[in-house]
Amino acid sequence: MNIHEYQAKEIFRSAGIPIPPGEIATTPEQAEEIARRFGGTVVVKAQVHAGGRGKAGGVKLAKSPEEVRELASKIIGMTIKDLPVEKVLVTPAADIASEAYVGVIVDRASKRAVFMVSPDGGIDIEEVAASTPDRIMKLPVDPRYGLQAYEAMQMGFFLYKDDVKKARAAAQIMRQLYVAFIDSGASLAEINPLVVTPAGEVLALDAKMVIDDNELDRLPAVEALRDESSEAPSEVAAREAGLTFIKLDGNVGCVVNGAGLAMATMDLVKYYGGDPANFLDIGGSSNPEKVVNALRIITSDPNVKAILFNIFGGITRTDDVANGIVTATKQNPLTVPIVIRLTGTNEEIAVKILQENGFSAMTDMDEAVQKAVALATGKEAS
């Protein structure tokens, strides 16, 4: 789960990390009023779950409250990478002497949380990693002991050479960041940039956090940070129905059990000249209700011109899926053709249920995908 910059900043702040004040506005007038209270030059920052906000025009400097209102009226309502901006963060502009990067991620190769720090902050860290890898220091953290003071100091000195005062301030921030990272169940926590002011203060000017979805059940306070308005409505509906759904741009709606088979099905749609409209995994357990919800979500996408079911019954009973299809289409008759492929557990019963209700079933995955693609592209009539 992604959270907004202002939410990550609140988490970092409560961990003790020094961060300039900031407030959230949902209207240009609110933004103006906040700027008036802060006084001086402020930054207006779009709050949206997308990187590259600056390049997209979502981060602007403003010298007066009036200018803040004008900028906020442009930023609120704009879309960045297809996501609508509904809030802006207004924060006093800081004087910057230098910018560094500090991040911690779960690294699958070392199977640990790994810190990545660089004295080159304020830019895309992946670019730094590609062009000047010697400007990045990586430090895996032993989960049994957490980030030790000496390790944090090694990184602090890497950022600020021989300046022990700044190194110490940065080290303190890294230890606080590690605690926030663990306590929030994060898979990524990032400060970019970590700045030094002309007065020598070390501050976090930006904050980013990605939460491991698997943590949310035991961290209700973190789950409460979810902003559904910044997620696609179909994905919200799918999550509430216990389905994993990702919307894509094609016209073949896919309903599959299992993530690997779902990906392979999408690939096969493409292989046979079509385009998948989505990734949808109904999961392993048998439940006709899930099928009903899956069909409702898929058919709400106007791009979908054909629906493809691909079910390999193991734990999933294919007769449950068949019953789900029959129930769903009785409630809401389909307006687009459907191709059903199922094989495995209770296949004979499933085929019988489908045939009695006017559906035909296929057993071969490739034939089913080809048929769905032909129907979606109008090469074959239903």
Partner: protein, 289 residues
């Protein structure tokens, strides 16, 4: 012969009285797996299906039955503890089926298991089966058959799809191992490839990977440098958009890393057979065996 599990496997089921645990325990027993014990805290002293003794702790179960392998069907928030409990009690092979284990839990579990000298398969995996000998997990037994091919996969139902096609074409399996779709797991492709290379009955290996991470690329390097047996690979997720988690927690393309294209290129570089579609696996195997 086979890898990881065989007719000597004495299986303990953690979470044997739960909904999933009881269902799959019955399936494993029907398949012929030697299920010697179950563990559910608070239900020690009961019998599962009038046959299998249930214990409160893994240590009790191991002491009483000599179980050497454990399979875990407990809810995600308890799975880390269950894995550590099994390894601490001296279980040699821990198979965790549970999906949804927090990845930070796994950063603690992994070094713990290593210190105890145990092997972990999973989490978020379908387990393993050595057809005709033992089944540990949830892979449907009826789609498998004994034979000369070893199979390792990050996926569940996609594995069933491929195994089913192999079995129908007369290509049986020594063992099928699902290593799971999570970013941190106990057993990786290379562990399985090395085991299949060492198993005299395995004549060829199928590797089913997907987008995310660099395990497949590492596996391809291992194949190039260490394998004498033919390996056929398939990668799922060629059409997946970057930055999105495709169901499996580990199936995400970050930046330019973890794409299907780079994994397929590494397979080709290693001289592996590359299946464009799941159905191509059978033909590629037949051509190489």
């Amino acid at each position: 012969m086979s890898v990881f599990i065989d007719s000597n496997t004495k299986l303990l089921v953690q979470g044997i009285t739960g909904r999933d645990g009881s269902f799959h325990s019955r399936q494993m027993m029907e398949y012929g797996t030697n299920v010697v014990a179950g563990v559910t805290p608070g239900k020690g002293g009961q019998k599962f299906e009038d046959k299998v003794p249930v214990f409160n702790t893994v240590a009790d179960a191991v002491a009483a039955t000599g179980a050497n392998t454990s399979v875990i069907y407990v809810p995600p928030m308890y799975a880390a503890d269950a894995m550590m409990e099994a390894a601490a009690a001296g279980i040699e092979l821990v198979v965790c089926i549970t999906e949804g284990v927090p990845v930070l839990d796994m950063t603690r579990v992994y070094p713990f298991i290593q210190e105890k000298g145990a092997r972990l398969i999973g989490p978020n995996c379908p387990g393993a089966i050595s057809p005709g000998q033992s089944k540990v997990g949830i892979i449907p037994g009826n789609i498998c058959a004994p034979g000369p091919v070893g199979l390792v996969s990050r996926s569940g139902t996609l594995t069933y799809e491929v195994v089913n096609q192999m079995t129908r074409a007369g290509l049986g399996q020594t063992s099928c191992v699902g290593i799971g779709g999570d970013p941190i797991n106990g057993t990786n492709f290379i562990d399985c490839l090395a085991a299949f290379e060492a198993d005299p009955d395995t004549k060829a290996v199928v590797l089913i990977g997907e987008i995310g991470g660099t395990d497949e690329q590492d596996a391809a390097r291992f194949v190039k440098e260490n394998m004498t047996k033919p390996v056929v690979g398939f990668i799922a997720g060629q059409t997946a958009p970057p930055g999105r988690r495709m169901g499996h927690a580990g199936a995400i393309i970050s930046g330019s890393s973890g794409t299907a294209a780079e994994k397929i290129a590494s397979f080709e570089d290693a001289g592996m057979g590359v299946a464009e579609r799941p159905r191509d696996v059978v033909g590629l195997l037949q051509a190489r065996m």
